[in-house]
């Protein structure tokens, strides 16, 4: 049941590095992270890899396996043939600290740039009354484990480092959508989504949705609805007129 697999693993400090070849034992039921750990234990004691739960819930072990962003702990070896060479590299979009470990502080920076939940003045914690149907949409987004693979795969910043200042990435545009849809949030999110966090850069090509390990429909349920809300606000003369005449707001 066990066999020897061929691996290529990115090794190096900072961005400089190269793919190193390994031949390593694989047993039934193992995942890629197990194999990386076996490499550490037997052949490369200084191989750096970030991990924590080994259950697909902490979002630490994001890496790229055969070129695709994956959680190392959730990628079964049985999805590869025994002859296949498996290439493991760090996430491409973020700077490398060492080997498979990247510096994901870009994401924390972007998280900080989004104003937090803003309830109406006068409503104190404990006084919120919400119906399940009103918060259901946001709850899908709360499943996020912050693995940052969506931001990693998004071509807006993956292929264009220079867009990093202007673009928050799908993870945080989804956060904005979550707050904008929240029945008790009163902050103006729509203008900021477009002008400060770069929603317009997204061309809805759905790679974020494809890689999300929590299967959140990021594009369909967060980004496109947010684009529609922004269109109401900035690009639709009829909605603008309606809001003027009926003195209504979209909240």
């Amino acid at each position: 049941m066990s066999y020897k697999a061929k691996f290529k693993v990115w090794r190096g400090e900072g961005g400089e590095g190269k793919l190193e070849d390994f031949t390593v034992e694989v047993n039934e039921g193992e995942v890629v992270l197990d194999i990386i750990h076996r490499l550490q234990a037997t052949q490369a004691p200084d191989l750096a890899v970030r991990w924590n739960c080994k259950a697909g819930k902490c979002g630490s072990c994001s890496m790229e396996i055969n070129g695709k962003p994956r959680l190392g702990c959730m990628t079964r070896m049985s999805t590869f043939t025994e002859e296949e060479t498996i290439t493991v590299t760090p996430m491409r979009t973020f700077p490398v600290i060492k080997d498979l470990v990247t510096d994901v502080s870009f994401n924390y920076q972007k998280a900080m740039e989004i104003p937090s939940f803003t309830p109406p003045a006068g409503v104190r914690p404990g006084e919120y009354r919400m119906q399940q149907v009103d918060v259901e949409r946001s709850q899908e987004f709360r499943k996020c484990i912050e693995c940052f693979m969506c931001n990693n795969v998004c071509h807006v910043i993956r292929d264009h480092e220079e867009n990093k200042t202007a673009f928050a990435g799908p993870r945080f545009l989804m956060r904005i959508a979550e707050l904008d849809m929240h029945p008790y949030d009163v902050a103006d999110r729509q203008e900021a989504a477009q002008e400060e966090h770069g929603l317009g850069h997204c061309n809805i090509t759905k790679c974020c949705t494809e890689v999300c390990p929590e299967h959140i429909k990021i594009t369909d349920n967060a980004l496109i609805p947010m684009k529609e809300r922004v269109a109401d606000r900035k690009y639709d003369p009829l909605v603008w007129l309606g809001n003027k005449i009926f003195k209504r707001s979209s909240k």
């Binding site: 400089e16 296949e84 490398v96 993956r158 929240h182 809805i204 609805p225 809300r229």
Partner: protein
């Protein structure tokens, strides 16, 4: 081994991997097929618009419906109505082409498909795009994609007209294969139209308190279910409209001529 500190310049660098992608699967198949299918649709569309055999009682080819000019034969006109006079001598299909065309062109799903397959931006996930600069939909012309909802309103009308055409054909020739083809096409077109993201937004997506609008919430729930199938509906309705259109034209030309055609 050298030590790096968090602020060393090398720590600000991504992995210097020199290839566009390390993917080993055949990621190029999907964009290639999409490219071929969309190109076929465009080529067929151009031919169909210029083709004159768009009507054979009781069928009207979907690409040329509604037929709005005096040059349209009596039975092809919508309610016998011809608002565009003699002066108009171009193919009547051209008059309305912009509406369903614009609807699909600005559709969120078609955008994804042609950005990927025609513009390679990106060709597939984790495959580097070939462009040096990228501004997405932040500026002209792509910022115009935001008017999609207006095309949606027009598409509702077109959907209604195609349904009317199909019902009319059904009433006049229930035994005709063409009537059934038009009917299936109308159902798919309407389903595609209702599954639109703008439709989802308009029904209730723009609200934050579903509980205060139970009817709109119901509609939203229904549209959301359809919306999850937007991609397959886009393809199905694209092939059905092409198929139905071709069928009517072939019957009109006498190429298809069996008794129940």
């Amino acid at each position: 081994m050298t030590q790096t500190t968090p602020d060393a310049p090398v720590r600000r660098q991504r992995a210097q991997i020199k290839v566009r992608t390390l993917r080993t699967d055949r990621w190029w198949i999907a964009p290639l097929l999409t490219f071929l299918a969309l190109t076929a649709f465009l080529v067929y569309g151009v031919w169909a618009i210029l083709d004159g055999s768009y009507f054979i009682d009781p069928y009207i080819a979907p690409f040329s419906s509604p037929c709005l000019s005096t040059s349209c034969v009596e039975g092809a006109r919508l309610f016998g109505w011809a608002p565009i006079g003699d002066w108009y001598t171009l193919p009547p299909g051209l008059l309305i082409l912009g509406l369903p065309g614009g609807f699909r062109l600005t559709c969120y799903y078609y955008r994804k498909s042609y950005y990927r397959s025609f513009w390679l931006s990106p060709p597939a996930c984790a495959v580097q795009e070939p462009h040096g600069k990228y501004t997405g939909e932040t500026r002209f012309p792509l910022i115009m994609q935001n008017i999609h909802r207006y095309f949606f309103y027009a598409a509702i009308l077109i959907g209604a007209i195609l349904s009317y055409d199909a019902i009319l054909a059904m009433v006049h020739k229930p035994q005709g294969l063409g009537s059934w083809i038009l009917l299936v096409n109308a159902v798919l077109i309407v389903a595609y139209t209702l599954s639109c993201h703008s439709c989802r937004h308009i029904t209730a997506g723009r609200l934050n308190h579903f509980s205060k609008h139970p009817l709109r919430y119901k509609a939203w729930t229904f549209v959301s279910k359809l919306n999850a199938k937007h991609q397959p509906l886009a393809w199905a309705s694209m092939f059905s409209v092409m198929g139905a259109d071709l069928y009517v034209r072939l019957v009109a030309k006498g190429i298809i001529a069996f008794p129940f055609a």
